[in-house]
């Protein structure tokens, strides 16, 4: 049996140090912008290490060695010295080209089996969620604590996905596909595609009306809906009319 690693990795090291512990100052969390820079820095260290490993261990990792030669010939590089040394970034490296292509192919394969998706759902993190507000320390802004934001978003997202999978929201489903993105403001949001199990029927306008509403709810009939829509979904005046508008 191969000897197991018994030393910690870079990832574990920084994960450990960035984790919040009550009443313990943490250099990666308490210093506002400087901490953010240090976090980005730590992440860059990790990436450098991983890419370095891939570059150093090409002979172990390069199962598709020949494919690389064919790619090069296809591009019109016929001389050996034009090809140079290829470093292949495998699909297991997150956000590498092969990773993106592989996931894209997976998505298209789902479409081939189940047809076009039925619903496109966007779910965005809200820094005013009570879970976030209660988890940050007094004096902190939600954007000072990216660790809390992503963690709570993840919990909520898992719950939402589970609800959709179990058919609690849209009835039985066939497939689910989602992609998490980070907006400029550091808040994560997700795009979800849902394939509904229609049993051969078409989706009727009544079903769509049940799920989707594109109007402002009446304040007296649906007061909560009215408050939520007017706070989150409406774009107020901006530019010269409202200098404080965050969209500028």
């Amino acid at each position: 049996m191969e000897k197991k690693r018994n030393t910690i990795t870079l990832h574990e090291y920084y994960k450990y140090h960035m984790h919040f512990r009550p009443n313990q100052p943490d250099p990666y969390l308490c210093y506002g912008r400087l901490s953010k820079q240090a976090i980005v820095d730590a992440r860059a260290i990790e990436d450098e290490d991983r890419l370095g490993y891939i570059a150093r261990n090409q002979d172990k990792l390069r199962a598709d060695y020949l494919q690389g030669v064919f790619d090069a010939v296809e591009k019109g590089l016929s001389q050996g010295n034009q090809i140079g040394k290829r470093v292949l970034l495998s699909s297991s490296h997150v956000s590498s080209r092969r990773y993106m292509v592989q996931n894209y192919h997976d998505g298209i394969a789902i479409c081939r089996v189940y047809g076009p998706p039925d619903l496109f759902i966007t779910f965005t993190c809200n820094p005013k969620w009570p879970e976030i507000i209660s988890a940050i320390l007094p004096g902190e802004q939600p954007n000072d604590r990216p660790d809390i934001i992503v963690r709570i978003f993840h919990i909520k997202l898992e719950q939402l996905l589970q609800d959709i999978r179990l058919g609690k929201i849209f009835g039985p489903t066939l497939a689910l596909l989602y992609s998490i993105e980070f907006q400029k403001r550091g808040l994560s949001h997700v795009h979800i595609l849902v394939w509904i199990d229609k049993n051969g029927n078409e989706i009727t306008p009544e079903m769509i009306d049940k799920w989707i509403s594109a109007e402002i709810p009446h304040p007296s009939e649906d007061p909560l809906g009215y408050i939520l829509i007017s706070e989150h979904m409406m774009h107020g005046p901006c530019g010269i009319l409202n200098e404080n508008c965050p969209c500028a």
Binding site: K4, N6, T7, I8, L10, E12, Y13, Y14, Y16, H17, R21, Q24, P25, D26, P27, Y28, Y31, R33, L34, S35, K36, Q37, A38, V40, D41, A42, A44, I45, E48, D49, Q141, N143, K184, R185, G186, N244, C245, P246, C247, A248
Partner: protein, 207 residues
């Protein structure tokens, strides 16, 4: 910080975002600036320290001209705090004193690296464990593991990401006592891998 910091992203009203692209690296220069050059980076600790505050604010303003509202008093207080507590800063100050005393002496600072599996994670570092002064010129080959900062040197040398002083050198304010960072071969707390707990418990008393 090495790398291309994207300074265009914070123009809106939203929360501050730190973004950079390209490869990130940290490099260290020499102890003394080239003749007629403004001191920068580590040279600030050594050269012309009577006007250190001004030199520091000037070095920062060059990078971010719009942020010129630095409070001189806070800068000098931070400097004092680092002088009193940070062992790395102390070594640099010691080098300054020596250079002032013996004009033109050739010294180097050796920032000590770590051997695989050294148990340096668990205690507060002392000056002599972090770095030492070496008289004369040292060939770099001899000290591959360590960082050698000499009085005059062309260009900047790259710091390995596994050097335990990588983070404290870059962020003296986040690690005011020169706490050492990651190096290769830190063992798990126990050989039996209990997932999630048990790892590096002894660690807690440092950070």
């Amino acid at each position: 910080m090495g790398g291309n910091i994207d300074r265009n992203i914070n123009t809106g009203e939203g929360p501050y975002v730190f973004r950079l692209n390209g490869q990130v690296h940290h490099r260290i220069g020499s102890l003394l600036p080239s003749p007629n050059k403004i001191p920068k980076f580590a040279e600030l600790y050594i050269f012309d320290t009577k006007n250190e505050i001004q030199n520091r604010t000037r070095a920062l303003q060059k990078e971010e001209p719009e942020e010129s509202d630095l409070n001189i008093e806070i800068v000098s207080q931070l400097k004092e705090m680092l002088d009193n507590n940070n062992p790395l800063v102390k070594i640099f100050r010691h080098a300054r004193d020596l250079l002032e005393k013996h004009n033109g002496v050739d010294i180097s600072i050796k920032i000590i690296g770590a051997n695989k599996g050294d148990k340096i994670q668990y205690e507060m570092p002392h000056s002599e464990e972090l770095a030492m002064l070496i008289a004369g010129d040292v060939s770099l080959e001899q000290y591959k593991r360590d960082i050698i900062v000499s009085t005059k040197q062309k260009g900047l040398q790259r710091i390995s990401i596994f050097h335990p002083a990588y983070m404290p050198l870059q962020y003296p304010l986040l690690f005011p006592y020169g706490e050492r960072g990651i190096h290769l071969g830190i063992p798990y707390h126990s050989d039996k891998k209990e997932k999630g707990n048990g790892k590096k418990k002894e660690y807690n008393n440092i950070t």
